[in-house]
Amino acid sequence: MPTTTASAVCTTVGNNILLRLTSGERDVKLKALRELKNQIIGNRTKKLSFLKLGAVPAVAGILSDAVSAVDVADNDENDRIVKDIIVQSAAVLGSFACGFEAGVRAVLDAGADILIQRGCLVEEMPLLKSYMEVVDAGARSLKMIYQSKMAPKYDFLQEENMEFLLSLLNNESENVSGLGASIISHSCKTSLEQKLLFDAGVLKRLTSLLGGSLIQRDASLESIATIFKNNPEVVSQFVGPDTGRTLSCIIEIVKDRFARTRLLASLCLIVIRNASPCYLQDVGIKTKLINNLLELLDDPGRVGDEASFAFSSLIAEKEDMQKLAFEVNGVDKLYNHLQKGSLHPRRFEGILLALADMCSKLECCRSRCLSLQVLKLVVDALAHDSSDVRSAACMCLRSVSRSIKFIQNLSAGSFMNETIVIPLVRLLDDTSTAVQVAALGAISNIVVDFTTRRSTFIRLGGVKLLVQLSKSMDSTIRLNALRALRNLIFLAEDKCKEEIFMELTASLLASLICDPEPSVQEQALALVRNLVDGRINSVEYIFAEDGIILDAVGRQLRIASKAEIEIQGMYVLGNVATGKESHKEAVMDQLLLRAENKAQSCIIKFLQSNDSRLRTAAVWAVLNLTCSSSPGSSGRLVKLHDAGIVSHVKNMVNDPCLDVKLRVKTALEQFNSFDDSLILCIFSPAASNNKASTSCLQFLTVRAVGELSHVVDPSSKEEESIANYFRFSMKKNKKKKSTRTVKFCFDVPADSL
């Protein structure tokens, strides 16, 4: 029912029109439809008003009636009016849907899309020239509906749908073929659908449309891009005599006089290039694309807004493209646009992201940004109203600071610490999660700093915020907060570490190490690794609160299956193993005694890993535990030997990785440096013989550190010589003021010594 609208005049006029729409006389209806169409065309406010008055269902009803009334066989005056009514009502519905989401919703709710399709486009109508007007109107309207995200998904898998689509594409009317192309652009999402369309041969028709009218060309370019997007398989099948023609056709269109067409052609080529890098590798075409897009930035409208996004998709992750873009002054050109000020948010966002991509790998781009003072504009954007712009500004900063050289230059140069740090810290509290994550990314790079920026960050309350975020329910935020903390702690001074640890607490760290997300576990372990590095008293942190952190580390190592986690965990233990005796023993405890059901130590698994980084980390732990300068090392060596770890290390003497090989070599030298007269004996408790000590002893196993196990046959004569050796070694030990001891596992008859 009619509701009040903003303008009283509108209400009167609106109600009047609606009233006449309900008239029984076709002439009146037709006139009312025309008036309605003229009222709403290009006028969002009027569309909204009429929407509220219930215009859409009313018009849909009229369309439905008219379609039923059509008698194709007849061609008299009456039919003409009916046709006109169909045309006008289709036009009105299409207009409501044009660029107006609420209108699209209303049209779809009224089932008008199906009505139009059935009424205007199916069956005999498209075949009759006299009905071309109807067909065209229907096609135009449907196209407008299909431009909306809310339009229904077209089911390509249904054979009749595919046939209908092909009939649309093959139609001569540019509106009808344009509709076919629109449907593809809108609905084709999966690689299966892409393949179906490709196999159905639509490309041939789309290519011929490239030579058609402006509408056909643009629609075709969008469709071609949609079919190829991210689908290397389809692109690779795109071979044969047709390929060259289509590609060169599109390349020509890159020079078209209409900006939008140039943009669409560029996007099409980019899609093909990204899906299958063997196409469009020529330096000439690469440069042409880059220059084209940089020029399109000059367009003041939507094309200019979108050009930077297209530029990003062209150069993202591709160092060669970034280099080419740099050589044609890409950074400068982007900066010039930034400087214009009062940018539309979409444009601002696009340019910032384009700069982020430019600086993602190349030092020359970062330096250029620094010298152009781009950063000042980027930092200003951190406070923009649009969250997309704030996010993009953070990504730009992150990209630019992804270089230790750059970070050093920042420190050395005049760009102040607080200028960057203050607005970034503020964003940690942003209402948008995406912005928080982006800010965390930039912060985590910027805090890798060996000067004062760290202390500025801490002073501004950055640590408190990071710790808070590390408790977030959102795992992405937890992860990125931890990354920033990990970097912050890297080589931090004692005081700084202490402040961070007080805020974090041992229990939080322990729970983060056991976080449900593996990547969070990894970062937590990396944080602890950095925490216990540095001055030797830093190792104590891991023992805080009854050693819950160390226990958590040990536990994760035993259950982890991801190499990255295992590597960090091993380095934690390896670092702790460079501490005092008690620290080393605690590590031994984690590695050896805690294994469930006397299973082998996890370190053996790591020593055998395919990942050389993990093997390296494991060998370092062993090296640190058996460091020659430590008094308890020989005892630890014996235990490691018993656990089978030493022999595993020995087996790695020809490791394919140079670093591992060198560490193993050092380890073996270290093992051999221990007194080799150290013998570990196990005596059988059932020594019942009372003869001379040597023959009483039944040696089950004689082991020498550094040599293989030697099982002695008690009945053989070996016994005596081994016993002599043993006695000799014992004497030798007594002489030496050595702290090394021989270990006994069972009772030894007292008179044997």
Partner: protein
């Protein structure tokens, strides 16, 4: 149009994250955070001096053959405090950099003259003379050759009386992390030697930390 969504979760090489962990280092002793200490002998007309030197690696980008860090010189006569400089290194990996410097007023003859002072260079000499060492596969060689160039003073002014105009030819031993270097500066005495050992800073064993640039 592609819309950028904030990158999330796990770091990966594909995403471009410059991770210290993702590609294994050539040698774990030449990684960020590692410290080295030793001496540089400084000769001038009057006498021989030796300064204590501490070096720390701060950045490492193997893909681009890049390294950087700080160098701290202690008991420098002209200065009241230790003098700290920031240096950048080029790793001779036959991909990014060769044995020929090609800048900093060092001729190929100067290059060869300096590299041959390292015993570990001897097996490579003939190949280097032939093609600059481009055909060498140094990935399994237990020594890493670099050039280190100090870029600026971190804690003193340029009027401190010290020069950083030259650069070092450096040889790093992967097995024990020891570093030998020769300073080259056409305006200074030749072959001033830098000798450093891997420092474990009071610990028994070697401790490693890391950071990750996203």
């Amino acid at each position: 149009m592609p819309v950028r969504v904030a990158e999330s979760s796990a770091p990966s090489q594909v995403s471009g994250a410059h991770s210290e962990e993702s590609s294994p280092p050539i040698c774990s002793l030449l990684t960020v955070g590692q410290a080295f200490s030793g001496t540089q002998n400084v000769s001038n007309l009057q006498k021989e001096e030796a300064w204590r030197v501490n070096v720390r690696i701060q950045g490492c980008d193997l893909e681009h053959g890049y390294l950087c860090g700080t160098m701290e010189a202690l008991n420098v006569p002209m200065a009241d405090t230790p003098v700290v400089t920031f240096w950048e290194g080029e790793i001779v990996d036959a991909k990014n950099y060769t044995f020929y410097t090609g800048k900093w007023e060092a001729t190929p003859e100067d290059d060869i003259r300096h590299w041959t002072k390292f015993p570990s260079f001897a097996p490579l000499l003939s190949r280097v003379e032939a093609d600059g060492g481009k055909s060498l596969d140094l990935s399994n060689y237990p020594y890493i050759f670099m050039r280190w160039k100090e870029q600026y003073f971190v804690n003193v002014g340029t009027d401190c009386g010290l020069t950083i105009a030259g650069f070092y030819y450096v040889c790093f031993s992967c097995s024990d992390g020891s570093i030998n270097g020769f300073y080259y500066d056409p305006n200074s005495s030749p072959f001033q030697k830098l000798e450093l050992k891997c420092a474990n800073e009071g610990r028994s064993g070697f401790s490693f930390s890391s950071y990750e640039l996203q």
